[in-house]
Symmetry: C2
Subunit: 465 residues, 2 copies
């Protein structure tokens, strides 16, 4: 009988090493106080210009004659199509029968979002990249080591190779720390998922321009600044195997999984892809496709000039939300253990009915025309919270490769029994950050906003975890 030849890493020691990196306020390379200058320098070294253009000036993109879908002539990248969504209330739903049409991005390829880690002086450092994305409000943000669609790394761009991708795929890749398929924005993408990876490098790693090594503690500090750590970084960071004991949680793991199963079962969501030019309530102009009441988002087009991207100039469509979002966890301690209130959310593009989102996830402007009782639950509690109850408030933006200026205020707000009772309303549950860490090892439990919130919780958790 041969002995196992495959090394079995000790998951416990891995979480301890991650905790050690989170506790390291400074790293072996760039100092946190020098980060702003470094990022600005990378911006100066690479000239970018993003301009809105009419759809007619898109290069390689056009509206398909038979459907009005916005497609690329190569058949790759993504398409903008129509979606018809019905959520049936019967027999176990919650609320009025819902039925709507919307544009949606269809991008069936699974991309890789990967962070390479490596020990320096006994502390794990994360290899992060200063990366321009045309939709970022400030263009340049901190992205994972690798952020690549399959089109990227199989050269559909006809541009350069994806740097460091060999650490994530192929026979010589490093040691896996996390590797899970996670959903992206269910309101904007149709069943999109990305492979979230953290890989520990074996041996030396060359440090290329636009990249820097940071401890997790340094990244946590940057997560307290507006629009620095991009969405792709946040979702990968949320998948780190922190300690995930359910000790002290209100719900046992069995109860939590059962509650989730119940939420998935009581909703029945049907989606049908339809031609983009057939969807009621939306109108297409020279430069935008917009909702006739001006709500939700616009589809627009931009041209991009950049020096350090796979290609040096391109045009593309983007989705542009119409208002500033509010994404928030209400948090309470029960018997000294921090809990956050999650919501089982239906989003049309989810692969399977519901995923867990933050307590509040909305764009308030979209509800301004509705009476108070139809505004999202807990929104007012968040908006009215005094400064002494706000543990965290930072503006982050969503993926700048698809979304233009898609900013939200991300908040963690202390609540009490009057705001958010121990026995929450249907569709909500109190869970611990450690339970979220346990769930996020698997796909399709936490939506992308909840994953950003989990990364932010970890960034603020030194004293409470």
């Amino acid at each position: 009988m041969p002995s196992p030849i495959i090394q079995t890493p000790d998951d416990k020691s891995l979480s301890a090493r991650i905790a050690l990196s989170a506790a390291a306020a400074q790293g072996a390379h760039l100092r946190t106080e020098d980060f702003g200058d470094w990022l600005a320098g990378r911006g100066r070294a690479n000239a970018f210009r993003v301009e809105r253009i009419p759809f007619a000036e898109l290069d390689g993109w056009s509206f398909q004659e038979s459907t009005g879908n916005l497609v690329h002539r190569s058949g790759r990248f993504f398409t903008v199509e129509g979606l018809h969504v019905t959520e049936e209330a019967e027999p176990h739903g919650d609320g009025p029968y819902a039925d709507w049409y919307q544009p949606i991005i269809k991008q069936p390829e699974v991309g890789i979002l990967g962070i390479l880690v490596k020990e320096f002086d006994g502390v794990l450092h994360f290899l992060m990249q200063a990366k321009m994305e045309p939709g970022n409000p400030n263009l340049l943000q901190l992205s994972p080591t690798v952020q690549a669609t399959r089109s990227n790394y199989t050269k559909a761009h006809k541009g350069g190779d994806v740097k460091y991708v060999e650490y994530f795929v192929g026979p010589d890749r490093g040691r896996i720390v996390a590797d899970v398929l996670q959903s992206e924005h269910g309101s904007w993408f149709y069943r999109k998922s990305n492979r979230n990876m953290v890989v520990e490098a074996v041996g030396d790693v060359p440090l290329l321009d636009d990249f820097c090594w940071l401890t997790l503690g340094q990244i946590h500090e940057l997560l307290r600044r507006d629009n620095v750590v991009n969405m792709d970084s946040r979702t990968v960071l949320s998948c780190l195997p922190f300690e995930d004991s359910s000790d002290g949680a209100l719900l046992s793991d069995i109860e939590l999984l059962s509650w989730f199963t119940g939420e998935r079962t009581r909703h029945s969501v049907r989606t049908e892809r339809v031609p983009l030019d057939s969807i009621p309530g939306w109108k297409r102009g020279e430069s935008t496709i917009e909702h006739e009441a001006g709500r939700y988002f616009n589809v627009v087009a931009v041209s991009v000039r950049a020096g350090n991207r796979e290609v040096t100039g391109w045009t593309q469509p983007l989705f542009e939300p119409v208002g500033l979002g509010v994404t928030a966890f209400l948090t309470r301690e029960f018997d000294g253990v921090q809990h956050v209130l999650v919501q089982a959310r239906v989003e049309a593009g989810f692969l399977d009915t519901v995923e867990l989102g933050p307590t509040v996830q909305c764009t308030p402007d979209n509800y301004a025309h509705l009476p108070e009782e139809r505004r999202p639950r807990f929104l007012d509690t968040v908006l009215r919270a005094g400064a002494d109850r706000i543990r965290y408030e930072v503006v982050h933006s969503e993926e700048g490769g698809r979304f233009l200026n898609a900013e939200s205020r991300f908040l963690i707000v202390d609540a009490d029994e009057a705001d958010a009772p121990l026995d929450p309303p249907p569709g909500y549950a109190w869970v611990t950050p450690a339970q979220l860490t346990s769930l996020v090892r698997h796909g399709h439990y936490l939506n992308v906003q909840a994953r950003t919130m989990l990364a932010c919780l970890n960034a603020t958790a030194v004293s409470t975890r």
Copy 2:
């Protein structure tokens, strides 16, 4: 600060109680040696007759004019439609580009498969039901306490209430032991899932006709008999929270999840629902829809007369596989720890690309026309295994409410390095039964055949787990 009001059960003690029930060869009610007589008695008490009929004699079912789809006039239950499947090999696929058409069952409702458990004399007993399903080769098998589509328990049948369903849904249900959405046959169902539940009753439970209380040890004994424990029971049993430590496993949990993520990523499967009357390679006669080479399965119709079902007589379509299946785990011990070889399987009806199946899962007749190198890998190892290497061999059938005489030989076969190397081929991985138990707490990891195999592993595991 209020104290938690929700009881948090101790998962560890639950697995110990399950192990205790598994070790109980006899229970407080029916003796195992009397089970056969009891089941035969239930058969005599309820007269059943199932006959094949032409499609034209179906009551309430017909071929839709525009599509040829087989539908019920109520719009409920299920439909038989066409499916066009393409599996793209590029850039990371395994094997030739695949493209085929087939009939498929579409049943969007999520049903409940639930077993009620209760302690007698300090040992958990399982409430099982003698239930007739028209597709069972022997009609009557042992089913879960509740086996109900939503149409069932919301009265689409216009028949009686579903017995014991109040223990599984609603405010007075019992304590949850397991509750997870699991896929059904991906080759025959389009994205079907069922809610697999085990619930512990609080207080007295009336014992109705056709039901009996058995220990898990008794059920394990019955799992060693042909065609006794039905598929619905087997899948629910597989979800029991046995101990799930990954101690001694070749792959750590992180490595196993990463391997699974890689398998899901490297396959690209596209499915398109198409009219049933448009699918090439299949022909519709008076009484069957069949593949033109006689392979795979037939769609047929039956009439049913029964005394103890929700309605006393009905007709319905069934899928009838054309040959006896082979479903097998190869098993090896590494450093004294049992492992089984799982395969990441593409099935057209899966919600998400691949799930884990047994080492071998096929109907050999479907491959009889192919050269040896295109027969399923490891099939010959299973078929040629001598009796001394066969740890388990029992014929079980698939769900008799949809499938007619869908029998497979389920085998657990000892292998050595020559049969099945420590470093398995792409698409295969060695895992421990405990790791499968850990995965099956979540949906869409183990396909229904792997779940049956896990239940069989547990039934044979007294000495090895």
